[in-house]
């Protein structure tokens, strides 16, 4: 086989979510370029084929088809578990009905269902799923429960937020966290313009800690409303460090905005990861507006490379999937494993908080993140109900 | 022989806000007669038509069409009971051709209602009827001309045609000759006479020559009240009418 190895990048590149899709694309393009400089995969270049799904599940389904038509064997996506669900479905259907198969590399969609009841042999998730993130977060909260008394849950009213809301309540009991959930609200996604009423409820509930899976404007506006009302609470988030939030929040989030991620920029500094720091800096030089944010894309691209090299070609999709299954990889942050049972990656996690003194600020906001806890792989895991059908 | 009454208005009143425009009108229109209503501007003639035809609701009183109460019925129901009207300002389906206007006016009375399983063009009765009407109106040459491109007089003629088309027994015409020249007006009168034949006709008109040519009986409406009803001669010689309406300009 000649020519580049192509990966279809199916994300919103127009419309209100274009910034998110655009940032991801830049990550992939950068990673591909860096790897191509090192000789690519099996001597072939990696090429990222951008496809605009307009954040629409059904559009994504037909883009999967187009990828197959174009002879592309890998698709990647992450924004929106609903889209990811549709892609899983489309990929499965395609691989069942046709000979030219595809693998779906999920770099950000966190709905646990994708590695549980809806798990698929051709789907691999390189981000920690929501259950794992909550596991990590609650382990951290347990260590701090002297400072945490009242927890308020505020989340977007769709499966992602609904999951956090219900799972977090369970975890407080399970982990025996010495705190109480004093409030739990769901708000419609991407529709709330003014969060002050919610903030007043947080205030009335007497909460000192807010847990939210919000992202994008829903998070920025929430954090700004909390700050401008002068509320003294800590906010634990999934996405506080990206998707536009640092720029929109700025120094207001300092010391109160926490995030749970698989990596952040100052990890490189703390752990002396010079090579990876170099990677980060180069990315910044190229795209001064944003930062290298998705560490998992690094993992994903390298693990794919290893799998293809192991198989020896980029066309035998089943073999590549088998190779990825259970693969271990030495990531800069430690060893990560693609769990064979459900194709969920297991990796160390970091809890960090916004900090103006961090070496690297996020998205030119003047504030970056400082690690407050490392969660080892063993503590950042979940159980799975996946019952995978393998070819 | 007592004549049947086509229309019977009893104590009809209408006010808009505080302004009382129709102040208790009693009016009988006999079957088959041509009844002309005259009166000063703003007396309430058009309003009266609006009340009868269901375009406006009455404030008080009753209106009967062939003995059946029709007041406050919606306009389409009044129409289905056999009363049809034209407008003082031309009010056609402007984008449709002459034939299409006529066909539309015929559909309901030919019993096609809201049906969506038969083709209009295949309804031969409707087509024949519409053609015949177009001929009577002298519009057959313009059959496929959109209404908006007709001359004013032609539009008025079509207005009359559409009004008559449904075969209603009682027909109300509001200033059918307004804006026409003498000759056109004469043509229009003839047209009306030809088209309405045996029907009961109620007409509002300002043109006195038209009035006297057309009317079997005349009612004079002044400030929302009928001050006189009678044959043309009676009206012509009625002092109150002269005072209120005709002025000195009587022929």
């Amino acid at each position: 086989q000649e020519g580049p190895i192509r990966i279809a990048y199916i994300e919103p590149l127009s419309g209100p979510f274009a910034n998110v899709g655009d940032a991801g694309l830049k990550h992939f393009r950068f990673a591909a370029e860096k790897m191509n400089e090192q000789g690519g995969i099996l001597g072939r270049d990696i090429e990222i084929v951008a496809m605009d799904n307009k954040q629409s599940p059904s559009e994504s389904v037909s883009l999967v088809q187009r990828s197959v038509d174009d002879g592309i064997n890998f698709v990647t996506q992450g924004n929106g578990s609903n889209v990811a669900g549709a892609i899983v479905e489309a990929v499965d259907r395609n691989n069942r009905r046709n000979d030219d198969k595809v693998i779906f590399l999920n770099y950000a969609a966190v709905d646990p269902a994708l590695t549980n009841e809806r798990c698929s042999f051709y789907h691999f998730r390189f981000d920690a799923n929501s259950a794992i993130k909550l596991e990590a977060l609650s382990n951290f909260m347990k260590t701090r429960d002297d400072q945490i008394d009242n927890i308020f849950l505020i989340n977007q009213d769709y499966s992602h937020g609904q999951f956090i809301s219900s799972r977090m309540k369970e975890l407080v009991g399970e982990k025996d966290i010495n705190a109480e959930v004093v409030g739990d609200v769901l708000h419609p996604i991407a529709q709330v313009r003014d969060f002050s009423p919610y903030v007043s409820r947080i205030q009335q509930s007497g909460a000192d800690t807010v847990v939210t899976g919000n992202w994008g404007n829903d998070l920025s506006l929430l954090v700004r409303a909390i700050d401008s009302a002068g509320l003294d609470v800590n906010t634990y988030t999934y996405y506080g460090g990206g998707l536009g939030t640092p720029a929109a929040v700025g120094p207001r989030g300092e010391d109160i905005l926490f995030q749970v991620t698989e990596w952040h920029a100052d990890v490189n500094v703390d752990e002396g990861l010079e090579e990876y720091e170099q990677w980060f800096v180069e990315f910044k030089e190229r795209y001064p507006e944003i930062d290298w944010y998705y560490h998992r894309i690094y993992n994903q691209m390298h693990m794919l490379k290893n799998a293809i090299e192991e198989v020896g070609n980029a066309e035998d999709v089943d073999a590549i999937a088998h190779a990825l299954e259970g693969m271990e990889f030495q990531s800069p942050t430690g060893t990560v494993t693609m769990r064979a049972k459900d194709h969920q990656i297991l990796q160390p996690m970091y809890i960090s908080v916004m900090d103006a003194d961090a070496k690297y600020d996020a998205d030119n906001s003047g504030v970056g993140f400082r690690t407050v806890a490392n969660i080892p792989v063993e503590e950042a895991t979940d159980t799975t109900s996946c019952n995978m059908r393998r070819p | 022989m007592t004549k049947r009454n086509a229309l019977e208005l009893k104590g009809v009143k209408k006010n808009f806000g505080r302004a009382e425009i129709i102040r208790g009108v009693n009016l009988d229109v006999h079957e088959h007669e041509r009844h002309v209503i005259i009166g000063p501007n703003g007396a309430g003639k058009s309003t009266l038509f609006n009340l009868i035809s269901g375009r406006l609701k009455v404030s008080d009183g009753s209106i009967k069409l062939f003995g059946k109460d029709i007041h406050n019925m919606p306009a389409h129901k009044v129409n289905r009971m056999g009363l049809s009207r034209s407008f003082q300002v031309t009010n056609l389906f402007q984008n449709m051709t002459v034939m299409q206007n006529l066909r539309c006016s015929l559909l309901w009375s030919e019993g096609h209602k809201y049906s969506f399983w038969k083709s209009v063009m295949k309804q031969d009765r409707v087509t024949e009827h519409a053609m015949a009407l177009a001929e009577q109106l002298n519009l057959h040459k313009q059959a496929d001309t959109p209404a908006s491109l007709l001359t004013y007089a032609e539009q008025r003629a079509l207005e009359v045609g559409c009004t008559v088309a449904s075969g209603a027994e009682v027909i109300l015409l509001d200033e059918p000759t307004a804006g026409m020249s003498r000759t056109e007006a004469n043509d229009a009168i003839q047209l009306i006479q030809r088209m309405t034949g045996e029907n009961t006709l109620v007409v509002v008109e300002h043109d006195l020559s038209v009035v006297f040519e057309l009317a079997d009986r005349i009612s004079v409406l002044v400030y929302g009240e009928i001050i006189a009803t009678g044959t043309p001669d009676e009206i012509r010689n009625n002092a109150a009418v002269q005072e209120a309406y005709l002025g000195t300009e009587v022929h």
Binding site: - | F16, A19, I38, G39, P40, N41, G42, A43, G44, K45, S46, T47, Q88, V89, T151, Y152, A153, E175, A178, G179, M180, S181, R182, T183, E184, H206, L208, Y245, L246, G247, T248, E249
Partner: protein, 232 residues
């Protein structure tokens, strides 16, 4: 004085006015007669700039042809269109107000009070939407609206349409009054009796041209002309 020279006008490709020449002096009422559809209303529209005029129109020495309608109006021309063109959504008072060139400012001869005095019905209906006015009331409104702008010359297109006989006399009186006030009045009229009654001079239009010019007396004594150009 209003001077029209070699005026042509077209609707698309149809050539309606074919070189009209006429004039109206201040202080006179000039009636423009003609059969239906000869183009009398078109003449008014062309003068107002509502149709692109080809030819020359001037008023008091100021060239009007080629101007936008609003500039024509500001040059002192008032227009009462044949279809009344009242503004249905607006009240009577608002309709009249739109007639004024500047907010709240009318000429000296025709003020709001004067109008309401002439035609008290409008005063009663001051705050009702104009579309519910009776046909005759709308006609009067349209005429008074034009007067609110303090015009020096008025083009009145079929003002007596739909008016009761008594009111027709009123309108005639108003037109006379305007001429006496020194305005130039161009009256397009269907009803021969009125036109002859109040006009100082008469033009007859036929086939897009002026085919006759004279005084009312001349016309009364000239049945051939009437037969040829005014009857069918």
């Amino acid at each position: 004085m209003l001077k029209i020279q070699d005026l042509n006008a077209y609707y698309g490709k149809s050539h309606v006015l074919r070189g009209v020449n006429m004039s109206v002096e201040r202080g006179e009422v000039v009636s423009l007669l003609g059969r239906n559809g000869v183009g009398r209303s078109t003449l008014c529209k062309a003068v107002m700039g509502l149709l692109p005029p080809v030819g020359h129109v001037e008023f008091d020495g100021k060239t009007l042809s080629g101007l936008e309608p609003h500039s024509v109006a500001h040059a002192g021309i008032g227009y009462v269109p044949e279809d009344r063109a009242i503004f249905p959504g607006l009240t009577v008072a608002q309709n009249l107000e739109l007639g004024m060139k500047k907010k709240g400012q009318t000429g000296e001869k025709w003020t709001l009070e004067k109008v309401y005095e002439w035609f008290p019905r409008l005063k009663e209906r001051e705050h009702t939407p104009a579309e519910v006015l009776s046909g005759g009331e709308q006609q009067m409104l349209s005429m008074f609206r034009a007067l609110m702008g303090d015009p020096q010359c008025v083009l009145v297109d079929e003002p007596t349409e739909g008016l009761a006989p008594k009111v027709v006399a009123d309108v005639a009186a108003i037109l006379k009054q305007m001429a006496n006030d020194g305005l130039a009045v161009l009256l397009v009229e269907q009803k021969l009796s009125i036109a002859l009654d109040i006009a100082d001079r008469i033009y007859i239009m036929g086939e897009g041209n002026i085919v006759y010019e004279g005084t009312p007396e001349d016309l009364k004594n000239n049945p051939e002309i009437r037969k040829e150009w005014l009857e069918v």
